[in-house]
């Protein structure tokens, strides 16, 4: 049985391991569109897949949510910003593509061209 007592252990472990990272050490910032259009298109499992994969691999990545990005037909949309604020926009993302983005882009710095907005807007 889980109980609120577990949180004490989590707190101690977090403090001992110093797992809490400062925002300025972050390598990427990932933003997921979570307005009505995004949610209806399947953004919730995309967001949760990214959060979970980033947590498991303990990546130096911040995951944030935002509202409507303005291209509702291409939702779910995931934007990846690097330290220099260069933005890569991935569109029509699902949970599987989200995992690819974590593995290839966030872990190995590879932009996945075939998922980007450029591919669809040509």
């Amino acid at each position: 049985m889980k109980s609120l007592e577990d949180l004490k252990k989590i707190r101690e472990a977090a403090q001992n391991k110093m797992t809490m990272r400062m925002d300025d050490e972050q390598k990427y910032r990932v933003v997921v569109g979570m307005a009505t259009c995004g949610i209806a298109a399947g953004a919730r499992p995309v967001l949760n897949a990214i959060v979970e994969e980033v947590a498991k691999a303990k990546l130096p990545v911040t995951v944030l949510q935002t509202g409507c990005i303005g291209m509702c037909t291409l939702e779910p949309i995931v934007e990846v910003f690097d330290r220099d604020e260069h933005k890569t926009t991935y569109v029509l993302v699902d949970a599987k593509k989200a995992k690819d983005i974590v593995l290839r882009h966030l872990m190995h710095d590879e932009v996945i061209d075939e998922y980007t907005v450029g591919k669809y807007k040509k």
Binding site: L7, I10, Q15, A35, C37, I39, A40, V51, G70, C72
Partner: protein, 177 residues
């Protein structure tokens, strides 16, 4: 939207945008009474009467990125299709209370869906907000309050990955899933 839990997520973002510091989500899911009753209540900026009547209109939105706002109209239509209703009470600087009811055994009533993911997503969105969540069925009543959890966690944030992963399992147990 094919899950009630997704509608709840969508509606709760309105509370976040209304700068709420506390959001309460209560769900009564009862076979005996044949209803699914949902209340989402916040202490955000609230709306005046004119705005409350406007928000059910799909061509009303506060967004500037597009000209339609479908969150509340979709939820309202979904509830009314089953013989239920959606009702909003709001007061400027006090907050907003949205209440929706579905007739549980109606053929058009959507699945509840993954309510755990919805709550986790909301906490991930803004850990500063205190969330109270209650899910009541005919034989169980699960309640949680992130305010209590934050007191135990101290300076460890509620949306740290370790905490969210724990919370997911905690809710799974509590909801008997």
């Amino acid at each position: 939207m094919d899950e009630i839990a997704l509608n709840i997520l969508d509606i709760a973002y309105n509370s976040i945008r209304a700068k709420a510091s506390s959001i309460q989500i209560t769900i009564i899911d009862s076979v005996i009474n044949n209803i699914i009753h949902i209340v989402i209540e916040d202490n955000g900026t609230g709306m005046d009467e004119a705005m409350v009547t406007q928000v059910s209109n799909p061509f009303y939105t506060t967004r500037t990125t597009r000209r339609v706002g479908l969150g509340i109209p979709l939820f309202k239509q979904s509830a009314e299709l089953t013989g239920g209703y959606l009702h909003i009470d709001s007061q400027i600087n006090q907050g907003t209370r949205l209440e929706a009811q579905f007739i549980k055994n109606h053929i058009d009533t959507p699945m509840m869906g993954d309510i755990i993911e919805t709550i986790i997503t909301l906490i991930q969105a803004d850990e500063k907000i205190d969330y109270y969540f209650e899910y009541k069925t005919d034989d169980c009543d699960f309640q949680m309050n992130t305010k209590e959890m934050k007191e135990i966690l101290g300076d460890v944030k509620m949306n740290e990955p370790e905490v969210l992963l724990w919370l997911k399992d905690y809710m799974k147990e509590g909801l008997g899933k």
